[in-house]
């Protein structure tokens, strides 16, 4: 009986490991990113053109990505797309390989606004793939007030009617911005003060959520929301009567970028993939699919009219008014978490 069990078990494990490894095609690429970052057609076309099989696996948060990558000691994966701040950490930990620019013919297509940022000041390691700005979206039919900046969110007209994303750096950052401070201040006293300010916002908060907030805006669950770009795009596509506000206090910018781990088993294939995605016509398909700001200057002109206002930066966009959220000291981080926990506790009251 026991033998039978172990035989079955061995068989099942074997089947599992086979299923796990997939077919051993000659050339393959282990792509590691969130779900839904590429349209299926783009991946299929890439495989058809180059013969490289794409193994697409997912993580749910940047942090779990980094944990996985450091467990794998910078191996296993060939190409990763993640958020700016985590890439900085990954680079610091020596997990990221320098790009071989000679293999990237189309590198000149990248919009310079998104280059030379804090996480990779000399653009040696990364190629941006989509950018987001934190914007306020509101439904004029449900909110009796014109919103122009973060400060307006404190108005009592929004009582129990506001949704925000669940990222404390972004939300505490709103309070910091209203106070005229930087997102990246490391002074615990200032952060604590922002926390106090945030407690006054609590009565207006109905919802703290990172995903699908657009559904709540569209269905009338909330009247206004602080959201990420892809959600803004979805919301505006579904209901054009909504209003998008670039906060007057300044704009928080986030960039997603592609990088190749230092021990990537298929580095050549990864370069080929990056270069393929940099082609303007391919990039256009990708950005229209993911709904983030197009980081490919050459693709801007190709973006369909209906998407243009969401995916390309406005003419009068002032790159100087943006600030990126950067890693800060552990002490400052701790102050943020505490302010955030107090804020969440207050929201539930």
């Amino acid at each position: 009986m026991k033998k039978l069990f172990s035989a079955v078990l061995a068989g099942a494990v074997l089947a599992g490991s086979l299923a796990g490894c997939g077919q051993s095609a000659d050339r393959e690429l282990n792509l590691f990113t969130w779900v839904g970052m590429f349209p299926d057609e783009v991946l299929a076309d890439f495989t058809a053109e180059t013969g490289i099989k794409v193994n697409y696996s997912n993580f749910d948060t940047d942090e779990s990505m980094l944990q996985k990558l450091s467990q794998a000691e910078g191996g296993d994966y060939d190409l990763i797309i993640a958020d700016d701040y985590i890439i900085q950490t990954a680079i610091e930990q020596g997990l990221v390989a320098k790009l071989d620019k000679s293999k990237l013919e189309n590198i000149g297509n990248v919009n310079p606004v998104y280059q030379g940022q804090f996480y990779d000041p000399t653009d040696e390691y990364t190629v941006p793939y989509g950018a987001g700005v934190q914007t306020i979206v509101y439904n004029p039919a449900m909110v009796d007030k014109e919103i122009t900046g973060y400060a307006d969110l404190w108005d009592s007209a929004l009582a129990d009617n506001l949704a925000v994303v669940g990222n404390y750096r972004v939300i505490n950052g709103m309070a910091l911005k209203v106070m005229g401070e930087s997102y990246n201040t490391e002074d615990p006293a200032v952060i604590a003060e922002a926390g106090e300010k945030l407690l006054e916002l609590a009565p207006n908060i109905r919802l703290i959520k990172d995903s699908n907030t657009q559904d709540d805006l569209i269905s009338g669950e909330v009247g206004a929301a602080v959201m990420y770009t892809s959600q803004v795009t979805l919301a505006m596509m579904a209901d054009p009567s909504l209003k998008v506000v670039f906060p007057s206090e300044g704009i928080g910018l986030g960039i997603m970028a592609q990088f190749i781990p230092v021990n990537a088993p298929h580095s050549d294939e990864a370069h080929e993939f990056i270069d393929y995605i940099l082609r303007p016509e391919v990039a256009k398909e990708c950005f229209q699919y993911i709904g983030y700001y197009c980081t490919n200057q050459a693709a801007d002109a190709l973006i369909d009219e209906e998407f243009r206002s969401f995916l390309t930066l406005p003419e009068d966009f002032d790159a100087a008014s943006t600030e990126m959220i950067q890693p800060i000291s552990a002490e400052a981080e701790e102050a943020h978490v505490q302010a955030w926990t107090e804020f969440k506790n207050a929201c539930g009251q």
């Binding site: 948060t61 942090e63 779990s64 980094l66 950490t89 610091e92 930990q93 129990d160 949704a163 669940g166 990222n167 404390y168 908060i205 109905r206 919802l207 703290i208 959520k209 269905s219 009338g220 669950e221 890693p327 000291s329 552990a330 981080e333 701790e334 943020h336 978490v337 505490q338 955030w340 926990t341 107090e342 969440k344 506790n345 929201c347 539930g348």
Partner: protein, 284 residues
């Protein structure tokens, strides 16, 4: 005889080994982590500190523990109210009825719990099915806006955990000798007295294990607070997740986990003492 004994020890060996390596090992590691200092940006440094534990005593974190306990108590009370009669009634069904009822209860169990919770979102939405029904019946005149409120979280908790209570009570009640209740009635006890003196007493182990099996998870089921509470109801579970995933403060998360585990252990010990039963009865 000695041989037999050795043979019997061999049957224990696999589970002992597995438990020691893959349960005790990780947990000991967690306790160790909880006494270490967090690194500047990521990971931990090998410096001993008690700071993670003293940090828990800040009012904001104590508040979270208190709120978690409150929610768990309320949910468990409701689960008892809903689940106890169900398990009791179920035990009185015919053999065939029991089997069918068991199936009926297991099928939702096999459906993804995430998806089931999303079903509740559809129900609770402003102008969703519930609002339409209530407004159609002229019970309410405008949307209730139930989604992302405390009651919605409580409903989610009860929904996710009530089966454990039902199964626990059922397995106790099923073993019960019904003739005792009849004897009590024959001796002139009112149905209520008979219930209190006989039925309740005999189903108590099931009831208590049901309480344990629902109370403990309800402190940690943070995704219910996320999905139905819009994240504005903070549980210890969400706090641990925040610390771990967002703040990268593994040692503090470990310390919170150790405290939560100690609370759990204390509860189980208390349960054993009160019920004088060694087994957590009737998981199913």
């Amino acid at each position: 005889m000695k041989n037999t004994r050795r043979g019997l020890w061999l049957t224990l060996l696999p589970m002992y080994l597995f438990t020691l390596v893959f349960v005790a090992g990780p947990l000991v590691y967690m306790v160790v982590l909880s006494f270490l200092q967090r690194d500047e940006s990521w990971g931990v440094t090998a410096n001993f500190t008690l700071q993670n534990y003293t940090q828990i005593f800040q009012p904001v974190y104590l508040q979270t523990f208190a709120d978690s306990l409150g929610l768990a108590l309320l949910s468990t009370a409701l689960i008892v109210l809903v689940g106890y009669p169900f398990g009791y009634f179920m035990a009185r069904l015919s053999a065939r009825g029991k089997k069918r009822m068991m199936l009926a209860l297991m099928i939702p169990f096999w459906t993804s719990s995430l998806i089931r919770l999303y079903g509740w979102i559809i129900i609770f939405r402003a102008n969703g099915p519930l609002d339409q029904l209530l407004m159609g019946l002229h019970i309410t005149s405008e949307p209730l806006r139930l989604l992302y409120t405390y009651p919605a979280v409580v409903v989610g908790m009860v929904y996710a955990l009530v089966q454990f209570m039902i199964f626990a009570v059922y397995s106790s009640a099923e073993k019960m000798d019904w003739s005792l209740v009849e004897a009590a009635r024959d001796l002139g006890a009112s149905p209520f007295t008979a219930f209190c003196t006989v039925t309740l007493k005999m189903t108590l182990p099931g009831l208590l294990s049901g309480v344990i099996l629902t109370f403990i998870p309800s402190m940690g089921l943070f995704f219910i607070a996320d999905i139905l509470g819009g994240n504005t109801v903070v549980l210890v579970g969400s706090l641990i997740e925040d610390q771990l995933v967002k703040a990268h403060n593994t040692p503090f998360a470990a310390a919170l986990s150790v405290v939560l585990m100690l609370m759990t252990t204390a509860m189980i010990a208390f349960y054993r003492k009160v019920s004088d039963v060694k087994e957590l009865e009737g998981l199913l």
